[in-house]
């Protein structure tokens, strides 16, 4: 009876280590081998090497010595430029993320309306995302030029004398944020647009019957049902904002007076300009830990505000 039951439970399965099965698995592994080897060689191994390097004084040119926790200790105890790079990064994050997501939401709402040429607008807003960051930054550097730049020219038309955007320590970071919002708003707009189009019409109908105004429908239907998309964007924007580099490199070079020297830019300077690969590796691991922690906190907090339909 028991044998019969067992036979019913596992009908006609092949032996676990049959020759044929092993061969099939092997073939599968061989097919994915190039990717696996690539990932191991170019991601996993460098990550391990970077971890080891963070405990050395490696400079890329000579044999490194083991320095234990010195790099980590120095970062937190006596590197004023590290502290400044953290503050600059936080300034960027706080400026960039709300503006980007807010603007993306506004654009997504506009592009979700039935109107002529809406496809053109969607494409236009997304184009910067697929444009080269160097080209974008260079063009914006001309826009920001204190004399003859289009921004200050526009401000002068309304009687405002514009600042020297990229060379003024007060205005350089806002300028970077403006460019990065313009550059990056297309992607979250598309995500939010998809989120908007996924909201069943029936909820709006019900709200209308209940007498909800336009604002009320947005506040109590649209926004709550977009929270999963907003949550996803918050996570990804946090991670990418902490790693901003290209725009800063081209637009300001971390200046003036380190006013835009964000975390990754300072890391890059240490690694490739000052030949402090060990120190830069330690910075990379600190950043990894910080991002992991922030993401974890965000993940935990989502229960309080994200509504899954």
């Amino acid at each position: 009876m028991a044998v019969k039951a067992k036979a019913l439970a596992r009908p006609a399965t092949r032996p676990r280590f049959s020759r044929r099965r092993v061969r099939q698995n092997l073939e599968g592994w061989l097919f994915i081998a190039p990717v696996v080897v690539g990932v191991l060689s170019f991601y996993f191994v460098p990550i391990l090497i970077s971890f080891y390097t963070s405990f050395t004084n490696a400079d890329g040119l000579t044999k490194p010595d083991w320095v234990g926790l010195f790099n980590y200790q120095r970062l937190f105890t006596r590197d004023q430029f590290f502290r400044r790079s953290v503050l600059n990064t936080l300034f960027y994050v706080v400026g960039h993320i709300p503006l980007t997501i807010g603007l993306a939401l506004a654009l997504a709402l506009l592009c979700n309306r039935p109107m002529r040429g809406v496809t053109w607008f969607r494409t236009a807003y997304f184009i910067p995302v697929v444009t080269n960051v160097v080209a974008v930054s260079l063009v914006w550097s001309f826009f920001f030029s204190p004399r003859g730049g289009i921004i200050n020219w526009g401000l002068s038309l309304v009687g405002i004398g514009g600042p020297a955007w990229l060379t003024d320590t007060t205005w350089a970071m806002p300028a970077v944020i403006i460019v990065s919002v313009w550059f990056g708003v297309g992607y979250p707009m598309i995500i939010l647009l998809a989120g908007l189009q996924g909201i069943p019409e029936i909820y709006y109908d019900a709200a209308k019957i209940d007498g909800a105004s336009t604002w009320g429908r947005f506040r109590y239907v649209t926004l709550p049902l977009l929270t999963p998309a907003i949550f996803f964007l918050t996570i990804t924007q946090f991670i990418s904002s902490f790693q901003v580099f290209g725009i800063i490199y081209v637009l300001t070079g971390g200046g003036p007076a380190r006013a835009t020297s964000v975390y990754i830019y300072y890391l890059y300077q240490n690694a490739f300009q000052n030949s402090r690969l060990g120190y830069a590796s330690a910075m990379a691991w600190v950043l990894f830990a910080a991002i992991a922690l922030i993401t974890l906190v965000q993940w935990k907090l989502q229960k309080r505000w994200v509504i899954y339909d």
């Binding site: 040119l61 430029f81 020297a164 081209v250 300009q273 120190y279």
Partner: protein
Amino acid sequence: MTSDATSRVTRRRFLTGMAAAGGAAALAACGSNPRDQTTPATAGGGPTTAAAQTVVGAAPARDAGVTSFMNWDDIRDTPIEAVIKEYEQQTGRKVENVPNPGTGNEYETKVRTMLAGGTAPDIMRVNDDFVRYYSIKDQVRDLSPYLKRDNIKPDDYFAPIYNFAKQPSGQYTAWSLGNQPRLIFYNVNAFKEAGVPLPPKEWTKQGWTWNDFLETAKKLTKPGERWGALVYDDTGMEQTFAVNNGVESGIYSEDGKKFTLASPKGAEALQFLADLTCKHQVQPERGLVDQPGVPNLGNNLFVGGKVAMAARTQGTINYFRRNIPKVGEPGHFEFDVAPIPGNVAQKSEGSLICFAVTKPAKNPDGAWELLEFMGGPEGAKIFAARGAFIPAYKAAADLIQPGKEPPSSYPANIQLFVQATEHATVVNFTENTENARNIYRDELDKAWTCQESVKSVLDRVRPDVEEALSGKF
């Protein structure tokens, strides 16, 4: 076994073959460090050993006729290109020019990455600030065996230039082709228009002190149209003005351990430069002359007649010659050169034109041959005739004359560059100079943009700069 059997490719065989090939390729890639391709003799000891072995012919050349060469600027239409072409013509060898993304930090980043990866070209341009650094890091070859073999006579060369790359160990780790002193370039027409007497034509501070310079700049300034002077965008002015204000050692102490630019006199010197903008408004604001990724902003202001006097190296002559409108064209003006204004002293930091044969060089013999040609009688003659710099080779320096080709396109007082070589000041470089420099120069932006005094900036960064100089970090 039939031929059919041997040629039949089953799926299993194909996959097995692919796996084997992939594994072999991965192993080959892992083992293909170019450094491993050098002979044990060259891969072994320090630079002396490597070069010495190469001289006696132990190191195989990748291609004896090709030498790879990397400068930090585009060499097209420059005297360097002219000399290389002459070399190729005379020897029948080929020089491969390695392109690079830009000057300054971008160039240094590329060089270091190439050195770390063992892919550096045979010859690389070395910022004179970093010759010591690359020597200590054992990334450049000792040239003394070549100097000895080819019976190079030091007396044929200006001693300060020839000896610049001589390391405390006695090795010569770079070849200095010449020196580019700094002078004040000025717009002769602007002086005439403002009714201001021309600066001195000899190396004297008589009538050409800092105060005289400031007063001249004020008279030349026409608000909204032209600034009188542009000095602070040339980093060579840090050393020059500090020394001229009485800081004898300049930016760093003689042993390279102290940041003497942060001394009261050093800070006062740089404040004078900042005040040209912040207080007297006779110098363009920083944003107009220093924008990331936009080269030659300051030079273009001079070329466009927007700046009447600019402190520049001799290397700028050819840029000005090419870009200042020609006679008869709108905006044309004559330009000339004057000494650096004097104070306690009257010196000028020159930039040495240094090239080095890299440690991973695959054709070190060919590299030396090219460098010897560039710095020797034939190369130096071409460089001098084009006014590019004061060649290390003494006999060629006499060729630096105004108005030869084409007439009046060179400054009339071009010989002042030769005089400047005799009044040169050199930064006390160490292997840690670069890190120190990166720290204080970034911070000085606050003084250049009139947001903080130079003293306050330098006081704040001094501990970090001196930590970097100590080499402890």
